[in-house]
């Protein structure tokens, strides 16, 4: 019985997801993308106490994901590290996070937040409207909407200075890898 339920719990969302993929809610897509970013980024080994220590995925500000972040990250590990989701109000708390999503709610005091996060080895992602500004402040991946699809821009320099290694494969699918460098 238990097995059957487990099977159903996998199959039903799958069918649903695949059938409505084109019309998938924006934040489901973004949640899935957060996970995928983690797959193509290497953190400095010192950021993990042990191979089994958790991978902290944090959201700063008002959580826009609803159920989707939990859903997308539900069974997944990043390498050997189990994922833990944290919703934070304070930028200072976010320094320990491996992956940090800054909610649009923080756009007005973005500069303060980014100053607070200076030097943290965290992959900082946001979907604020001024993605270029976000990148200039040290944001690493900015999500944008383009033709009804979610795309992203990379700030390789910022990731480098934070000690993160972003796979060239990720660069290849990014719309831009020099986010915030040229204001053309």
């Amino acid at each position: 019985m238990k097995r059957r339920r487990a099977l159903l719990s996998v199959i039903v969302p799958l069918i649903w997801v695949s059938s409505v993929y084109a019309q998938a809610p924006e934040y489901q897509v973004k949640a899935a993308m957060l996970y995928n970013f983690a797959l193509f980024v290497e953190w400095p080994p010192a950021r993990f106490a042990s191979p089994k220590s958790p991978f902290l995925a944090c959201v700063l500000g008002t959580d826009p994901f609803g159920p989707w972040l939990k859903y997308e990250l539900r069974r997944a590990d990043i390498g050997t590290h189990p994922i833990q989701i944290r919703i934070l109000k304070n930028a200072r708390e976010a320094r320990n996070c491996h992956l940090l999503f800054i909610s649009r709610s923080e756009e007005k005091n973005l500069q303060t937040v980014m100053t607070e996060l200076q030097g943290a080895a965290a992959l900082i992602v946001s979907d604020v409207s001024n993605v270029r500004g976000f990148c200039r402040e040290g944001g690493m991946i900015g999500l944008i909407m383009q033709g009804g699809k979610v795309r992203f821009e990379l700030n390789g320099k910022a990731a480098d200075s934070a000690g993160l290694k972003i796979s060239s494969k990720l660069g290849r699918v990014a719309k831009n890898t020099k986010c915030g460098e040229d204001d053309s």
Binding site: S18, N36, L39, F40, A76, G79, V173
Partner: protein, 483 residues
Amino acid sequence: MIIFRRSSMRYKLLGITLLGVLVSTLFVFIGIYIYEIATYEKRITQEMTETATFVSSNSGAALAFKDSKTAQEILATMRALPAVELAALYTLNGTVLASYSREDQKMGPPLARPWPDGLRFKGRDLELIWPVSEKGRHLGTLYLLGDTATMRARLMDYTGILAVILFAITGSAFFLERVLASWISIPVLRLSRAAGKIASGDLSTRVPVDSQVGSKDEVNQLAESFNHMSEELSALVNQEREARNDAEEAVRARDDFLSIAAHELKTPLTPMKMHLHIIKKYLKEIDASVLRSKELVEIIGKSDRQLERIVRLVDDLLDVARITKGKLSLNLEQCDFGELVRGVMEQYQEAVKSSGCTLTLEVPDGIVGKCDRLRFEQVVVNLLTNALKYGANQPLAIRLSQDAEHVKLTVRDHGIGISEVDQGKIFERFARAVPFTAYGGLGLGLYISRQIVDAHHGKISVESQSGKGSIFTVEIPLKPRLQ
């Protein structure tokens, strides 16, 4: 095989050349084919695995972010790999994110989940299903289909090359055969023709010898030996011919001399004999007391006998001359052989008496046949005078007999006899079984007798033992065949 052995040398050479080259070429190509086929599976497996590893390690992000443009770009690199027929990237839910087809026609086949990962041969094609993952997270699937077309194309290329090479080899073998023929079979053929000419008598035939080739080439060596042989042969034959001409010339000269001498000797004898007869006749008419005619008659009688002897010798010489010139002809007529023999015996009564032989004569009447009377008498006289000469003072028997077809004359003496060695040659010209000093004569009597008997289609033979006498037998057909 038999056809090959029966064909000419140049075609044998061609066959050997062709067979050798073709077989070795075929073996080389069979080796290449076997190697190609044997290594093909391994090669394509390795190639496809490497390709899959490369593609999957590069397509993770594209799959994760469902970036079909990037995925398409990655798959487009398959163009550099002609073995890849189809390639496709599937997202986790089984939709095709990107696909590649070498012919730009087919799409990847729809895959049903859960697909079996791995590599398997599907007929001539190799199918490879490869998971794409990142950090242990399954992101999608790569599908590759490699086919053996390139392999088959390569084998076809080899076959084409083989055909061209075989064609070229055959062509050059024919060319080679022409060269070889001029080196080997044509000189051999020339030799064979020259040998044929020599066999038919043209001893001046020579074969050309290539002085540039030298004597290491066996055929050239053979040609040299052949020329040497024909030179020796023609020298020998010329020598032989000259010797024979000389000998023939000598014989002719002797025969001519014999003939002339005999005629010249005979010419004065006939008048001399006549003169003696006339003298005898005159002496009978003269008184015996006058001129001591009785002694004269005796002297003249002796002279007459000596003259008679000379006449016989000269006649023998004339006969030999006739025989050697082939002019001995018979004058056949009806003969009573008994009468002929008795006539001779009567004529030689005196001689028999003076030899001291006791004569037994068995000559029946009525043996009649065809013969040359004078010639037959000559045979009888020869045999008789021989018997008297070599068997003096011994019994002498002469017998005449006949059977259905032959008349047979036997003359048996008890004289010195003839050794077995000499029996073979007493019928030859100038042959004598006894020393010239002991017995006179030219040694022609038996030779002439034999020629006469031969001319009658008869035969003459001797049975004898040294010291015990001889038996001469003459057999003549009663009706000689006409020539």
